[in-house]
């Protein structure tokens, strides 16, 4: 099963869980499966129109997903990493 890695700022809904494996064949399915397990997670990644927030970036096996990231296929050993912008200034 693909693995999804949750960034520290988004671990409120996951109650501290940093990574989990889910049944999914695409990035979107992966995120939706995470939401089913941890309600409240998905709005942190997707906006009301279902697009990836501009302050979130998605990486598959270390490669930055650009374009239609949500449709990207995921296979058994793939890792999806979510990165969120955080800084003070």
């Amino acid at each position: 099963m693909p693995k999804v890695r949750i960034p520290p700022p988004y671990r409120g809904p996951t109650q501290g869980t940093a990574e989990l494996s889910v049944e999914a064949q695409t990035v979107l399915e992966c995120l939706e499966a995470t939401e089913r397990k941890f309600p409240g997670f998905l709005p942190q990644v997707l906006d009301e129109d279902g697009n990836v927030h501009r302050f979130v970036k998605l990486f598959k096996n270390g490669k930055h997903l650009r374009g239609d990231a949500l449709a990207e296929q995921l296979a058994g050993e793939d890792e999806l990493e979510i990165v969120a912008a955080i800084a003070g200034g």
Partner: protein, 577 residues
């Protein structure tokens, strides 16, 4: 293959306006910035001294890597005993003076004493020929931008400046120290927190001019190996997410989502104005107003600094940061980024910390002494009342706690007298542990842990880890927004001096820095009773549903003072502030 040599330390006696240049101790070669400042203060400053008296010591210390070709490594530390907290303080800034001082091999400027005439003003000139104190009475009371414009005309094109504004000269404990940026030599970067501008002002020191002349980058033990390291690190950074390429202000929606974008003096963690305060609107404005992203210092690959223009297309301010939008904006119920840009410029002109000033005005508004969201009244207060020295102006310029005393209002969110930055310790409890235990008081750059799902038994561990990593980062010259790890920093140190710096050594250096600072505060009179947050943060909930308060037990908070065993995650943790 020995790396940099011949480094110097400048000691300035402001009582006699004399300068002594000595060799920099070889044993301190891996000490820079914050760690060096802490070491000097612990050795040379009486922790019980009056922060605004002659016994206090002002330290100006670039990072170890400043002046080299290492990317984004020109940060500079300003240190001293804080008039705001009464403890040790290091405030860190970008801009160009850090690079310039290290190109000259100047590891620190240590300013002591005080002129007999409190109205006298002086400048300090630092060049390849040496250093000297010069009269600067003609600069008395000048706003930072006008001052730097005047200095730019007086000195060489290669020079950069460190200055304090009228707030510093008035010795107000919210006063900042400004540094000039690399392109326009505007005083747009600030070592803002803790009132070190007041310490500079108390010494009659209006500015420091640093002219590296034709000095090149610092020598390294193996230039080829160092160059390869720089190239590889830069390539790797640029292949990554570059999360700050639109500026820290792009964090607004994330903070708002996490209930840590303070509204109306932190009575809520979400602002109804988040959309109009979002840095995305600033980026959109570049198309019609001009401005854009730039690097505040040479050699920066992060380029997180925005240049903000007004409606007519003229320069207004730089950089309009997330923390400023949060404290001068959201917490005062100001509706738009354009209004906050005006207020940011006002603070930069007067030389005030935007976080402390925003928090102070939010207290004033919460006390019913100014309408919420009235940015015109705020600008008038900052630009007119502060320099005039009205009672209200002095209170605002002296910070949130002083404003609470002035108004009799008790909702003052702070730790050790320093206002809480945007990141709220109620939803972010490990960050709250940092605010309780950091030698710096409530300072997000001292150890930011943004993990609302962290279990309580990890609060102290994560806080200590972040405090240690940030202490090393702020000593290295690297910017926290580059997010270097301890392994990254020790690799650069090793290449600089041609010798291995082990994990144990780099971790020890971070812990030694924290220990020196805690020891200074202990000698200043701080006790366990001071390791707390103020009442509103422990009694008034914010957040979704019933909300949360800061309720971390003392025994967990106190665990930060016991060093945890080293684990691999310490060396992979990124600096964050």
């Amino acid at each position: 293959m020995a790396g940099p040599s011949g480094d110097k330390l400048i000691t300035v006696d402001m009582t006699r306006q004399s300068v002594e240049v000595t060799d920099f101790p070889a044993k301190w070669k891996l000490l820079g910035g914050r760690a060096l400042s802490a070491k000097i203060l612990l050795e040379q400053c009486n922790p019980k001294c009056d922060p605004l008296g002659p016994e206090n010591v002002l330290v100006v210390a670039p990072g170890v890597l400043s002046g080299t070709a290492a990317p984004t490594s020109g940060r500079i530390s300003i240190g001293g005993k804080s008039p705001l907290t009464g403890g040790i303080k290091e405030a860190n800034s970008g801009g160009q003076p850090g690079q310039h001082l290290m190109k000259l091999g100047i590891r620190a400027i240590v300013v002591k004493g005080q002129p007999a005439d409190a109205n006298a003003r002086f400048g300090l000139e630092v060049t390849a020929e040496g250093a000297k104190v010069v009269p600067a009475d003609d600069c008395r009371g000048m706003l930072n931008y006008a001052l730097c414009d005047k200095l730019s005309k007086k000195y060489a094109k290669t020079a950069s400046f460190i200055s304090c504004g009228p707030a510093g000269e008035m010795r107000l404990s919210g006063a900042s120290v400004a540094t000039t940026d690399q392109d326009n030599r505007f005083p747009a970067r600030h070592a803002a927190r803790g009132g070190l501008g007041a310490v500079m002002g108390s010494k009659g020191l209006k500015y420091v001019m640093v002219d590296p002349g034709k000095s090149g980058v610092r020598r390294t033990a193996d230039p080829k190996a160092f160059g390869e390291l720089c190239k590889g690190y830069t390539k790797s950074y640029q292949a990554g997410p570059q999360m700050f390429k639109h500026g820290t202000s792009s964090v607004v929606p994330v903070a708002n989502m996490l209930h840590t974008f303070p509204y109306k003096n932190r009575t809520s963690g979400q602002s109804p104005n988040a959309q109009t305060l979002d840095g995305a609107r600033i980026v959109e404005s570049f198309a019609t107003r001009g401005g854009g992203m730039h690097n505040c210092m040479t050699g920066c690959i992060v380029k997180c600094s925005n240049i903000v223009h007004d409606e007519s297309g003229s320069y207004k301010t730089s950089a309009l940061e997330f923390e400023t939008l949060a404290l001068l904006g959201a917490s005062c119920a100001v509706a738009t980024w354009q209004e906050v840009a005006e207020l940011d410029r006002a603070c930069d002109e007067i030389g005030l910390d935007t976080i402390e000033t925003g928090a102070a005005i939010a207290v004033l508004m919460d006390a019913g002494k100014m309408p919420w969201g009235d940015s015109a009244a705020m600008a008038k207060l900052i630009l007119e009342e502060v320099p005039k020295g009205t009672d209200r102006g002095k209170a605002i310029g002296s910070g949130a706690v002083a404003t609470g005393k002035f108004t009799g209002h008790t909702r003052v969110p702070h730790a050790r007298g320093q206002a809480i930055p945007a990141w709220d310790p109620r939803p972010l409890k490990a960050t709250g542990v940092t605010y309780c235990t950091s030698p710096m008081g409530a300072d997000h750059t001292a150890g930011l842990v943004i993990n609302p799902g962290l279990p309580p038994d990890k609060y102290a561990y994560e806080s200590q880890k972040s405090q240690l990593v940030n202490a090393v980062c702020d000593s290295s010259g690297f910017c926290q927004f580059l997010q270097p790890t301890l392994d990254d920093i020790r690799a650069f140190y090793g290449a600089l001096y041609g010798e291995e710096v082990t994990r144990q050594q780099i971790a020890d250096q971070g812990w030694a820095c924290l220990s020196d600072e805690w020891e200074f505060n202990r000698r200043a009179g701080f006790t366990k009773a001071d390791d707390k947050l103020s009442r509103p943060l422990v009694e008034e909930p914010i957040g979704a549903g019933p909300g949360v308060v800061f309720d971390v037990p003392d025994e967990i908070v106190q665990q930060v003072f016991t060093r945890q065993p080293m684990q691999d995650d310490l060396f992979a943790a990124k600096a964050a502030g």
